[in-house]
Symmetry: C2
């Protein structure tokens, strides 16, 4: 992998080449200034909390929302009953996403949608193409089910390399997997380029676009591929999840959007069954715009604190389009994580081959202030 | 299907032929007497409740238990977190079932274990053998995945016909599915006969024994096939569930017991992920013997009320080994169910070819008194 220098800080938008970073100064000046005025400039010491800070698994530290908690509480007495509100949930998502309900499947988290697509792709022998690094649920399942996994390294700017992925596709490639924003690298692929890629590639094989972090993106270059589902594409699955912005990771609710024939196949092939408290919570949470907006706002606040530190310390990082950061630590991440754990912080696991890089998930702003203070004391 | 007469009332034990029903009188005299002394003999009218009585899906009307409810309440705040207590749950089941933890898999209900086994069986083309009627999750999944389903009718006594099933097995049969107690017919297969069947059949193919109603059985002829798992059988899966006696149907927790290699394959092939509230509830409930004993006692009370009516009206029925009854109505079950719904009772869906038979799940005793009163008024 090419070494990235301080001057090559990334916007996290694949459309922007290294030489074209017009938004760099403005994109970071605000947050850094805000950060400087608060904890650091004032020299405030943040006390270590009496619990472990969870900043390793891209959860939502604020969730579930109050309305979701109310929905869970109101449904506990139904826990002995089969059934649930699948039809109501499908109708809600249909209206929110402007796509017919027969274009939607519900899984036990989007992980189930990913695995089921991995299974479907592996029913004929062949290969699956994905970026490297990226989220592993789909390709791990497909690999175990007999598919060959073709991993295409991200480019020098750490963006998903669509040209290289297109070249890596073989006649036997059954599925191409794209995570947008990517994970562990929170970059995005520019909308028109991705759309054109999906339209071309999906003529001959499945394309899976995992939009788990969709709701966090604040980048004009980004766009969901839902519009291609709405237009009737027969070989595209878009996945979303209630685990991230809705803060329902433990309740396992995720969604697939696709052509009805694909939705039927997903429903027939998946083995999991959603639980009544999860579906009730999700139904409430997807209607709770206030909580989603609050989460987005707080996530930006936390990102500004962390990215401010990267700027201050001159660390290479990828400008985030999600609820986590990815930056170069200069020391093995295993070692970093052990030191952070001693200080009460869980940070992201190693993501080879980026073994000197760390993925830090956004906890609450005060928790990120403690993280920054700790990081600077240990490694600054 | 052979017509069964009043004189052919069944003990629900496959070992007992029609000519050998020594326990009939004693098995029913007690409960009927108890029933006569209460609601019927006293002529008490049971008021219609202001809710629909759920007697159609074999749930536990008493669950979740108080300790499970407490566990759910205590874990709600963790709903935004990944993870759970899988290791602790495996350790608990290992100790309760006296089998090493690597012999256990957890699914989103035993339905997930069933579907995953159906998938594994269908990975090579071939057939799956099951009784008819029986529970359909496994065979429906396997059928969609390409297996041919060979259905073997129950015998004249409505018991699973092991001899006929053995004969139906072909060279290409990948899996034989046994539900014990069976569903919708709550009969059991006598332990030594089933054990010998499983030992023989599993030499060349998978055997799946679904023991969803295991905890309700009070029949000396019955025995779990767990002992063959403990003895190291490599081609046997035993399934259990938290949905029934534990009253956690809506929270989707079930278990597979098998050789570690099979467990690994189940874990790799299943697509679902359990939820944190379900696993916390199950962990509490499996330690709550008091609730399980209470449920068993109340289930017997409800069964006595219903079976008392069958005796009184001279209806053919299958003596229950589970938490539901199966009896001959003499009218189409669709028509029966429509009438019952008008009176505030959900009853079991039709189970072809038994279209003049009804499966009634045990609700609370007072609810079953209302059911009996209603049934007798409408059809008695």
């Amino acid at each position: 992998m090419a070494r990235i220098t301080r001057r090559q800080l990334l916007q996290g938008g694949g459309a922007l080449s290294i030489g074209l970073l017009p938004g760099l100064a403005t994109a970071t000046a605000g947050p850094v200034a805000g950060f400087m005025q608060s904890a650091v400039a004032a020299g405030t010491v943040v006390q270590r909390p009496d619990y472990m800070i969870r900043a390793g698994t891209n959860e939502n530290p604020w969730g579930p929302s109050r309305v979701a908690l109310k929905a869970i509480n109101g449904a506990i007495d139904l826990s002995n009953q089969y059934g649930g509100i699948t039809d109501e949930m499908l109708a809600l998502m249909s209206s929110l996403e402007n796509v017919a309900a027969d274009h939607i499947a519900i899984g036990t988290g989007s992980g189930e949608i990913l695995k089921t697509a991995g299974m479907i792709a592996s029913m004929q022998s062949g290969s699956v193409v994905c970026a490297d690094p990226t989220y592993q649920d789909l390709v791990r399942y497909a690999g175990r089910a007999g598919s060959q996994i073709i991993r295409v390294p991200v480019d020098e700017g750490l963006n998903i390399d669509l040209e290289a992925m297109a070249k890596a596709i073989r006649r036997d490639t059954r599925l191409v997997y794209i995570v947008n924003p990517n994970n562990p690298i929170p970059s995005i692929i520019e909308k028109d380029r991705l759309k054109s890629f999906v339209e071309t590639i999906s003529k001959d094989r499945l394309v899976f676009v995992d939009e788990a972090y969709h709701e966090f993106v604040d980048n004009p270059e980004y766009g969901s591929m839902m519009e291609l589902v709405r237009k009737g594409n027969r070989n595209l699955v878009v996945a979303r999840t209630a685990s991230k912005i809705h803060g329902l990771a433990g309740l396992r609710i995720g969604f697939a959007y696709a052509h009805p024939e694909l939705i039927t196949e997903i429903n027939e092939r998946k083995t999991g069954q959603i639980n009544i408290l999860g579906i009730k919570a999700a139904y409430a949470s997807y209607q709770d715009e206030e909580f989603q907006n609050f989460t987005i706002r707080k996530n930006k606040e936390s990102l500004a604190i962390v990215e401010g530190m990267f700027e201050e310390l001159g660390l290479c990082y990828v400008k985030s389009n999600a609820n986590f950061s990815f930056f170069e630590t200069g020391i093995p991440v295993e070692e970093l994580n052990a030191r952070l754990r001693e200080e009460g912080i869980y940070s992201g696991r190693p993501f080879p081959p980026f073994l000197n890089w760390s993925r830090i998930s956004m906890a609450k702003p005060e928790e990120m202030r403690y993280y920054v203070q700790t990081y600077k004391r240990l490694f600054g």
